[in-house]
């Protein structure tokens, strides 16, 4: 019996670095050079690293398709680059595999509820390149209603379940140290084991991102018996990421996501995008809309993408608001509030820089 399949992780990484030379690949046309973009076009498929087990974000359904906010981010990028949202190969990654998979080129991008942090972004740390944040989250705690636990102080001396391979351990340790509360962290490798131990009564509370807690709670036998504590222990901006060292590819991904935000702001939806394009084509005075939808100008070319990448993307997955409501909001079992994830114009943090 192998000690753990995760051991093998170091091997391909080493091999990849040992065997690959430094190829100087000139990218596709349009003056934009990107190894990743030409590699994705070459295989006609976007390889996207996701969680795969998190309802609302990326979840493999019984019909064999992935659904969720992260999965839709992958689809949006595939639609922008390849013109087809179905040309995505999903790769389930656990939280300790994800950065190595990205660095070794096993996946083109991550849309795996990954928190953007300094050490992950910096060249001296994980050295990955983050796009725009697609979900503003925070770490929280869930406890059984019957336990009477309502604040951090109630957890003194008690065991708390934590999933490994995230910043949650660090945040929990920081908060508890600040308040001088002693506790026992019980760390498990996968979410399934973590929540099984919590439901088995081994720990009195479980900590994770609040969206994840809500998502997992929705799959519990009795969701009503568990509450999310009001305490928010950290900022968790969940952000898609690409590998460092390919700025053209990072830009293409970044502006595809911004296009989702911008489309919501302009009121362009999956349903009306074709009409909007027709309207823009007919009316020369709608310069902003014409540029955004690629009717005039060369934004697509500047990014190394097709001219009509925005309408293709919106037609495939809808705008950000639609993606949110469908996967985690009112149209989903999670029923999360938009709160911080509203558009900036409605008091939230979702903001796209201008398309000009």
């Amino acid at each position: 019996m192998q000690p753990s399949p995760r051991w093998l992780l170091a091997l391909p990484l080493l091999l990849a670095f040992t065997l690959t030379g430094c190829a100087d690949d000139s990218g596709s046309g349009g003056g934009v050079q990107s190894m990743k973009l030409s590699a994705i076009r070459g295989r006609d498929k976007l390889v996207c690293g996701v969680d795969g087990k998190l309802p609302g974000f990326s979840f493999l359904g019984p019909d064999g398709t992935y659904s969720g906010l992260d999965a839709d981010t992958c689809r949006a990028v595939a639609a922008a680059v390849l013109g087809d949202p179905a040309k995505v190969e999903y790769r389930d990654l656990n939280s300790s595999e994800r950065f190595a998979a990205l660095a070794s080129g096993e996946v083109d991008m991550l849309a795996r509820n990954t928190t953007m942090t300094l050490s992950r972004d910096s060249a001296g740390g994980n050295g990955i390149s983050f796009g725009p944040t697609t979900f503003f989250d925070g770490q929280g705690l869930m406890a059984p209603v019957a336990s009477g636990i309502r604040t951090l102080k109630d957890l003194a001396g008690k065991p708390i379940c934590v999933e490994s391979g995230t910043t949650t351990e660090l945040n929990l340790a920081d908060r508890m140290r600040e308040q001088g509360i002693a506790y026992t962290p019980l760390k498990f490798q996968t979410g399934d084991q973590t929540y099984a131990a919590y439901l088995g009564g081994r720990c009195v509370a479980v900590t994770s991102d609040r969206s994840q807690l809500a998502a997992k709670r929705s799959s519990f036998p009795k969701p009503d018996e568990h509450i999310l504590l009001p305490e928010v222990m950290s900022k968790e901006p969940l952000t898609p990421a690409s590998v460092n060292g390919d700025p053209a590819w990072a830009d293409a991904m970044r502006w595809t996501v911004f296009a989702l935000f911008q489309a919501e702001e302009l009121g362009i939806t999956k349903a009306n995008v074709a009409a909007k394009v027709a309207e823009a084509k007919a009316n020369k005075n709608l310069a902003d809309l014409r540029r955004f939808l690629g009717v005039e100008g060369d934004f697509g070319k500047q990014l190394g993408l097709p001219a009509d990448f925005v309408p293709k993307t919106i037609a495939a997955v809808g705008n950000y608001g639609e993606i949110f409501e469908r996967n985690v909001g009112s149209g989903s079992p999670l029923k999360l509030e938009r709160s911080e994830n509203r558009l900036w114009s409605k008091g939230g943090l979702i903001y796209s820089p201008p398309f000009r």
């Binding site: 753990s4 950065f99 760390k187």
Partner: protein, 329 residues
């Protein structure tokens, strides 16, 4: 014969040609290695992942559930890794002793005159060794131990209490007074407390490795010729006495080398601890990897640690093997 025929040209000289071939192969090998290492360094540098060990001195900033040496979140990463290593060694050492005792008993039982005992030993071996260890660990932890009650309903024997929060044992308290577990405010207290994670992992490792050890012991005993049994019996020795003083010492010569690889497996398998929430070396390394992003360094440390642990076990077992060999006089 003229003198010129005696001189063999160097390209056909048996004393020269092998050296040239060896040198050529050696040169090619060296070139390939240089190319590979050069690529590795260049690509690692490009990815900003060139080996660095400075992070070992930075504060770990995470807590661990149990530790034999003092530890808190403000201590550096190397200390956290040490905590993991000590925890790993603890479960490995106790596991080795337990698996040996259980395995030897089961191996000997398969030669017992008592049919029930014999069949029980066979069933144990066949069931346990044919189910993956990870499944067994998850079974012990989630199905058996987490189903235990807490508080007054806990499973109690004199000096032993088994509950969902752990295994509580009687031990010497202050002043060498023997003290058993007691219930204080609904929470069990005892001089010796083993966490339920440790207990589950240990149970899983001992029962799993015990089945393999039982087979090794059975093979060893079977290798002792029937004449030895008969000779012992004709001297009037009872079954257990002939096993203890005649058969087992001879069987050890066959058993010890086989035990070596079982012990090594146990040490490696202990890294499955993370599945049941026990803080071993692998578990700590995983957190460290995630917080520092130093994947190669952490994996090198892990690989090195398990290699050294296993080589040490091998060295000790080779020493034991020398002791049990027949000494020619």
């Amino acid at each position: 014969m003229s003198a010129t025929l005696k001189r063999i040209p160097w390209w056909r000289d048996r004393r020269v040609v092998p050296w040239i071939v060896q040198a050529a192969v050696g040169l090619v090998l060296l070139l390939v290695i240089t190319l590979l290492v050069g690529n590795l360094v260049r690509n690692l540098t490009a990815a900003g992942m060139l080996l660095s060990w400075r992070w070992l001195g930075q504060p770990a900033s995470f807590d661990v559930a149990e530790s034999l040496i003092p530890f808190d979140a403000s201590m550096p990463y190397w200390r956290a890794l040490l905590v993991g290593l000590v925890n790993s060694l603890r479960v490995i050492l106790v596991g080795l002793v337990g698996a040996t005792l259980l395995g030897t008993a089961m191996g000997m039982a398969s030669f017992s005159g008592n049919g029930l005992l014999r069949r029980l030993a066979r069933v144990y071996v066949e069931v346990i060794r044919n189910i993956p260890l990870l499944l067994q660990l998850l079974f012990w932890y989630f199905v058996v131990f987490l189903a235990l009650p807490n508080g007054t309903a806990a499973f109690q024997l004199p000096g032993i209490v088994l509950s969902k929060s752990g295994l509580y044992l009687a031990w010497f308290a202050q002043g060498f007074s023997w003290q058993g577990p007691e219930l204080v405010n609904g929470v069990w207290q005892a001089p010796l407390r083993l966490s339920v994670e440790f207990t589950a992992l240990l149970t899983g490792l001992i029962t799993y490795t015990g089945a393999f050890v039982a087979e090794v012991v059975r093979g060893g005993i079977a290798s002792v010729s029937k004449g030895q049994w008969e000779a012992a019996t004709s001297l009037g020795l009872h079954w257990s006495a002939s096993m203890r003083s005649v058969v087992l010492p001879q069987a050890l010569r066959v058993i010890v080398p086989g035990l070596n690889s079982q012990y090594i497996s146990l040490a490696k398998n202990s890294s499955l601890a993370v599945a049941v929430g026990y803080v071993d070396l692998y578990s700590v390394s995983e957190t460290t990897l995630n917080q520092t992003g130093r994947a190669l360094e952490v994996f090198l440390l892990l690989l090195g640690s398990y290699l050294i642990i296993d080589l040490l076990i091998s060295a000790v077992m080779n020493g034991v093997n020398q002791l049990v060999q027949i000494r020619e006089r």
